[in-house]
Structure formats: C-alpha cells, structure tokens
Symmetry: D3
Subunit: 190 residues, 6 copies
C-alpha cells in the first residue's frame, strides 16, 4: 500500500507491545551512574534539584544525510537523547529516506508500538510487516511516535545473518531454505 505525505499510519506491528512501568514522581531525569558499575531497570534519576529545562528538549536538525547502503537514516529521540523522557513511556524518531528506493528495512521494536506520519514524499508499507520504502522520485521524511522511552530496535536481517557470535549456518540454511554457501556469504556481508 502506498502512502503520500501527511498520511498517518498505525503500525500495528504484531511484533511489539510493552508498556513501560508508570512514573512514581513528577519526573525522573535519567543519569548514567556507571562509575560504580551499578545499574537499574531503566535509568537512575538525576537529583531533582539539579534538573533544568534543558533536560526536556533536544534539536531535531533536518534533513539528515541518506547516502548509505539502505538509503535511509533513523534519528531517534528517546531517553538517550532527552534524559527527561525517563519513566515517561514515550519517544519519537525522525526517518529520512533517499529518493527512489530509500529503505528503512524490516525491523521490530521490542518494547514499543509505533505510529508513523509521512511528512513528505511517498512511502510503500505492507500490512503487519514493519518497513518503509520510498517509491517516490524525491526524498521522503516521516516522524513516528513510540510507546516507550527506550523502544529498542532489532533489524531482522542483521539479527539473523549478522549476529555475533555467528549462528550455525545449518540453522539458517534450514530456517530460510537457502543454500549453505548463500548463508555463509550473507553472514560475511552483515
């Protein structure tokens, strides 16, 4: 299905559905306190007395360069970029697509559901398979909301053929019905 600018899509990905635990105070601005090698589920909070408005915003410079293999660049804005998003259970991404074939390849977000709005261009999207493909002759831009402050992303081809350590080629050959040599060649590429 083809969608032009300003079409909004609910990516009811059948691959994701977590809801982050609720906040227990007005805000909990994230800090990384790794100096002691101590970690919690999510992030530690910054001392509330030291929190400033800057903890709650970030620039989203446009446009991004899309001269890469996939022809797309995903710019996340989650708890890693805006520490004030910690415990709030929501984040955004901006996606730039190169003209004529820019692809945000099949992937899933292990901790979030996604909703996507096409700001510019024409994208091809299919059903529950989660990718976007720029079929227009011009660049495309989309913004997506995600239901987690740390949604994560698993790009399927990388996870399967590019895992480290490498998966036994017998498994992938059988699972994808591909010749062992093709599997090994893919494992080198990813």
């Amino acid at each position: 299905m083809v969608h032009s600018a300003s079409i909004l899509l609910a990516l009811a990905s059948s691959l994701a559905s977590a809801s982050d635990p609720s906040p227990l105070q007005d805000f909990c601005v994230a800090i990384n306190d790794t100096k002691n090698g101590v970690f919690v589920n999510g992030k530690f909070c910054k001392d509330p007395n030291l929190v400033t408005p800057n903890d709650f915003f970030s620039g989203l410079n446009i446009p991004r360069n899309t001269e890469n293999l996939a022809g797309s660049t995903v710019t996340p804005v989650n708890v890693a970029q805006i520490s004030g998003l910690n415990t709030l259970g929501i984040s955004l991404v901006r996606i730039d697509y190169a003209p004529s074939g820019g692809l945000n390849p099949p992937h899933t977000h292990p901790r979030a559901i996604e909703i996507l709005v096409v700001l510019e261009g024409t994208l091809y999207v299919v059903g529950l398979i989660h990718f976007q493909f720029n079929i227009g002759k011009t660049k495309a831009v989309a913004i997506a909301g995600l239901s987690s402050q740390n949604p994560g992303v698993i790009t399927i081809a990388n996870a399967v053929f590019g895992s480290n350590p490498t998966i036994n080629p017998d498994v992938l050959s059988k699972a994808f019905q591909l010749d062992q040599n093709v599997v090994k060649s893919l494992q080198k590429k990813f």
Copy 2:
C-alpha cells in the same frame, strides 16, 4: 522558554501518567457497538476477518484553519480517527497555531504523557505548565505523540469556569481569589 522549528520537547506534564492495558491479540480494531447500549472499558473489536488496511491509516490534511478565539487548532489522530489504534496505547495530534499569539491553552491529558516536536515556527512553553504559545510572526505547526489510544483532554479554564452544571461561585471565588462578579462573568463567557 522559546523553541523554534524542529525542537523536540518532552512535556513531562505532572498531570498525566497512565499506561493503557496491553493488547491481548495482534490487533483489535475498534467498533462502536451501541445498538444494545452495551459498552466496555475502551472499545469492542471489529471481527478480525473484516479488518482491512484502511483501518490503520488516516489523512492528516494541512494546514488547518486557526481563525478561532484561541488562535489554534488541534487535530487529534487517536482511536476515534484510526480505529486500528485500539489497544495499542499510542496516538498523535497535529497542532496549528495562528501567527503572533496563537495559543493552545493550559490543559492536561488524563490518560497520557505527551512529547511534542515543533515542525514550523517558534513556540513559547514553560516548565511543567502544559500549553504552547506562538510568539513568532508566522504560523507554527507541531506534532505530538501521546501514550494512550484515547488520551482525553481537559482544558483547565473550561473545566473550571465552564463546567455544566455550573460550580457554586463561592468555591471559585475562594479558590482563585477573584471577586464573585468576575467569577460570574467568566462563567458566562465559558
């Protein structure tokens, strides 16, 4: 604090923090089945065999007219507009602001946390008080993600001075330290 186009803000509103219950199947496209006067928490689901791709998208026509009292128009895209958002726990709004003073007035979302990206123009926002005010000489546009498929909205001035039935003016006079006549006059306006 003033924010120009492409600034992304986490509206860590201290007024909202629910997370919707998780989905229990791949999708539950909403239907209103009021013919029997029967309702559930949220919405009934459409027969999965009748679901089509159209249930998952919607146009988001731009720009919206902002010639109204506040000088702003909020275009929600939640479960009421995209029935496929049902059970997914996320939605978006587009907000258009008139030049030089367009205001999305102080409000809260009883069932969602919001994150806002300024696509165009310059907005004034303050800390945890939840409003946007266009201080630029040109129109402004923002998109916000919300962590519920049905976030709701309570515009504070309306809820307080425009409630139906009317609140006893003694209460509002005391709470807002306003003269009774001012309160009664406000209750007529809202």
Copy 3:
C-alpha cells in the same frame, strides 16, 4: 451535590489514572539515599533485615487546625510518612474543613485516583471537578484513599497563577479571558 457524614464518594476525577508498578518482593520500605546524589524511579528500599513494624504505621492525630486562607488542612499519609508504603500503590489522606466555607480547592492527583468518605459534616462536591466545600455550620472531616504510594497534588489555581518562573501574562489573559491587570494581580497573590 451535597453529602453529609458517612457518605462515600468515588471521585472519578477525569484528571488521574496511573497505576504504580507492582512490587517485586514482599516489601520494599523506602529510604532516601541522597548522600551520593543518586535517585531511582520511586525510592530505594531499606535493608530488609533492618525493617521493623514501625515502618508500617503512623499516627493520624485529630483534629487538625484549619485556620488558614482556604479553611482546610490536608494530612497526607503516603510513602513520605509511612515508608513501608513504598511499592504498594496505595495511600490515604485526612482532610479537615473549617465550618461554613472550609474549601479543599480544585486540584488533581497526577498519579492516583481518589475515593472519599465523609466522616463528619456536610460537603459540597460537583461532578468531575475535584474539590470539597464545607457548606455546614460545623467542621467537617473526610478520609480519602488514593491509588498510589506517591499520588502528588496539583492545586490548579497555584499551578496556573503561582508558577515559578511566572507564566507570561499574555498566555493567562488569553486562556482565562481575564484582563492583563487582573492576571498580574493574581500572580502577585499566589
């Protein structure tokens, strides 16, 4: 609507709906460990071996003095008063109202839903607007249960007119349809 002693009200405030994350052990008595400037979502737990029955109770001395501007006193009993409430997702408040006009002014709890029982006196409450007003000639007392160990409270008039830093009067003048001078005068009072 007027309610006398022993009436129980569900304050289905349209302004609140979080549920705290579930406990992950039998109890997690709160401690403030700010000596390192380190914070978590909620509170750190006390060493379970040092927990005593005293961590789970607190006196609720009655009656409270209500000689203040609003004519009411709210005595919270949440995780700040009973550290054993940490992670348990529930708390209480006691509210004392002065005779003839004691007011618990319009407010909301960002992380809790409230249920209120009138122990003594006669209170005026309206629909979804969340306040109580003592219309009786004697003092009134109520107890309310809240669905969070740290429900928070936003008193609307304070948040709007008394915020620090001050909100631009243009915004409040437009939002509340009040003269700029009235707004500035209110901002001085709160």
Copy 4:
C-alpha cells in the same frame, strides 16, 4: 502490636499485589449485562449518556451490628456497591469490631493491597499476618483503602476447612499436623 484510634497501618500483606488495568475513558460505570450470559474481564460499562451523580456515591451507615460468631462486620464499598468505581482501581471497606475480642479473621485480598486506619478503639495486628483483633473493652471501627475496584477476599479458615467440594481430610491432616478426627470436625463447623 497494639494500635489505638487514629493509627494508620500499611498492611503490607505478603499475600496481595495486583494493579487493575487502567481506565480507557473518563469513566466506565459498571453494569451487569447477564441477560445474554455474556461477561467480560471486570464489568460492562453503562451508556455514558445515562450516567448520573448517583452512580458515584453510596451511604456508609454506622454503626454495624457485630453480634455474630467472629464479632466483626465488614462493609465493603467496591464496584458492587458504587458502580462508578469500575475501572478506577480503588475501593474502601468499613470494619466494625465488637468489644473485647471482635475479630476480623486471617484473610487475604487476591487482587489488592490494603491500608487501614483505626477510627475508634484499640486493635491488635501482627506483622504480615492479615487480621485485626479488638483488645479494647469498647467497640472499634476502622476504614481500609484497597488498591482494586474488586479486591476479593479469601478467609483462610473457611477456604481451607470449609471448601466445597470438601478437601480430602488426608491432605489437611498432613498440612496442618492435626488428627483426622479434628479435621473432620472442623470441616463440619465451617
């Protein structure tokens, strides 16, 4: 541990910890629509257009008669008594205790955590075992908040010795280290 009037206790029962699913609209007043033999998780909602203030309150007449075997009466106020509590995740109970030995026997709430305030009298409570025993010479009264609109209650002695169908006495004899005849006698009493 002995607690007099106005002591507030967090009953951090190690037997309970659910949080009800969040509401998905401002309110969902419960109805029982059993005419078709159809049920949902929780309750169906009343048509929002037919909801009235009466759906949100209930009298809590005092005092209750405590002339029964245990010497106590529990008056619940949950979704069965106030249908407006549906989806709100909170409820209350009032407990009246007979003088000199009124007992609310050991029990647990499968879907709620409880916090209890003693309004009148002197109660004996121990650690994580969940009961209250009136050790004073006068009646006692308590109010408790519960973190569910339908907390449920399992009175332990009834569940073990009074279950229907009856549990094989071999099991209870072994589990409680009681003579089989004692077990059979208890099974007759409960």
Copy 5:
C-alpha cells in the same frame, strides 16, 4: 551454546515484553461469542455459574510426530486450549524435536517472554536469537513457560518471505542483500 536435558534457559528474547492486563475477578473462563460478530480485547468470559474444573485443564499427549520440514512440533497450551487461562497472563508450550537436526526455527512471541526447560535430548541455542536446534542423535523434548495467555508467534522466515500479500521483492532484495531471483524463489517456497 549446547544444552542437554534438564537445563533450564531464560530466553531473554530482545523481541518481546508485554504483560497482560490483570484479572478483575477470581477467574474469567474464555468463551468465543462470535454469533453477533462482537469481540473484545482478549476474550469474553463464561458465565461463572457454568464454570467447571474441566475449564482449567488439558491433556498434553506425548510424544508428538516430528516428521515435517522443520523436524519439530510445537504444542501450545494457552487460552485457546485451556479456556480457564483467560486473564491469567501465563501459558506453556511443549516442543518435540526430531533427532539430528530438528529445528524450531527463529521466531518471536509478540506478547510474551519465554523460559525453556529441556526435558530430554541436547539442544543448540544462541544468545538472543530465539530458536532451538537438536544437535543430538536422539529426539529432544522441551517445555517452555510464556508470560501471556495468548503469546502469539511470528516465525521470521515465513513473515518475511511468505507474507500474504507478497512484499515487493525490491524491498527484500535490498534488506537481505539477496539477488531478486533468490527472493522470488524464496517467496514461492514459503
């Protein structure tokens, strides 16, 4: 990594993390009430008065035949098999693997986290990639717990190459760095 019988594995799949909404009554045995084309999130409940012990159990006959392309058979026991599991947020699967290469191919559960115990045989599993491969010369058997009553399953190769409608081969060719002819051939196989 190779695991022999009686090894228990936490499959901390980075692809799944939902928790089902909590139950709101003691049990809600599922029924399918599709005669009116009406559906809810999850399942309707059976009339509690008609519930029998049979609603809570099911046979798990062993062993299953594994003479199929993958050399494995997954026997789910979730709300579709035991209607009493409705609202309980947990289910199991039994997996039988053919000797010397039986494969439960890479997949994910969109609504559950999985924990797996090897009852018999020797399985090969790698890191966060979610599959099991029987490297032993004898059959293997495993049981897995899943944190949802309806966990769902997405077999990756099927979802990518066997989707209906078919995904544009340009997308898959680019995403998997495979020749277009290989992609088209795979799309025929799946």
Copy 6:
C-alpha cells in the same frame, strides 16, 4: 480431581495476580549489591558489558530427595537461581512428590499466577485450593510456570501457626474454632 502424567492444569488460584513491571532494556541481569546496604524494587542490574550466556541458564538436576515431613521438594528456578530472569516476569519450579502421599501443602504465591504440568505420576488437586497430593503408588514430578521472576510463596499452615513473633492464641483459637491447647500445640510444631 485426579490428574495423571502429562495433564496440564491452570491453577487459577484466587490468591494471586500481580504482573511484574516491564523491562526497560533488552536484559537486566540481577546482582545483589548489598555492600552499601542499598536496595531497589527487585534487583540491581549487572553491567551489560559483563553479561555472559551463563547468566541465562541453570541445571535442573533430577530427581530430588523427597524424604521430608511433607514428602515433597520444590526446586525453584527464579531470579535467585537465574539472574538473567530479572525484569522478565516469569519463572519455573520443579516439584518432586514422594510415592503414596507426598504433599505440596496449601500455599499461595503473592506475586504470581501458576500453571502446572504433571510429568510423571498421579496428583490430586482441588478447585481453587492450591496444593498437590500424590495419590499414586509411585513418585510424581511436575513443572510449573509462574508469572513473576520472584513469585514468593506463603505456606498457609506455617504462616498461621508458625509465624515469628507468635500470633496471640486467642486469635487463632477463634479464627480456626480450635481449642486453645490445640493452637498452642500447633504453634510448637510449626
């Protein structure tokens, strides 16, 4: 009701229903960092760079010795045994039962719902009362899934008669309708 090997039971215990908070990253392997006497809800996480596959599995050696008073041994595999289960909201137990009367006595899990599969032997289980009794002449073995990484367990007889400090015998005598001497004798046994 009697169940033989390979019967799977949903123990829809009316005594349990929590769902653990969702994970906020791919994994959070538990560590106990008690050197500073600091604790959190659940467990601290291990430095992700130090996580190894060993953090995600554990042996489950069989059979266990059942020569004890109850004639049963419960072998838990939760976050205490597999630290990688932290934040994942699921765990397992293996239960071995002695022939002819091995009993896993009445108990409840305060933070989990349980589903049980009988691998070997014949067990007697009744309705919502949560125990298993080996009525066969041979040993029995079961595996159960639990919907928490730290489900907890309250063995009812121990909690009631073996609590420390001891419960006032007046309370137990009244609650269980047992002679005071029987209560005191039970309190010595447990």
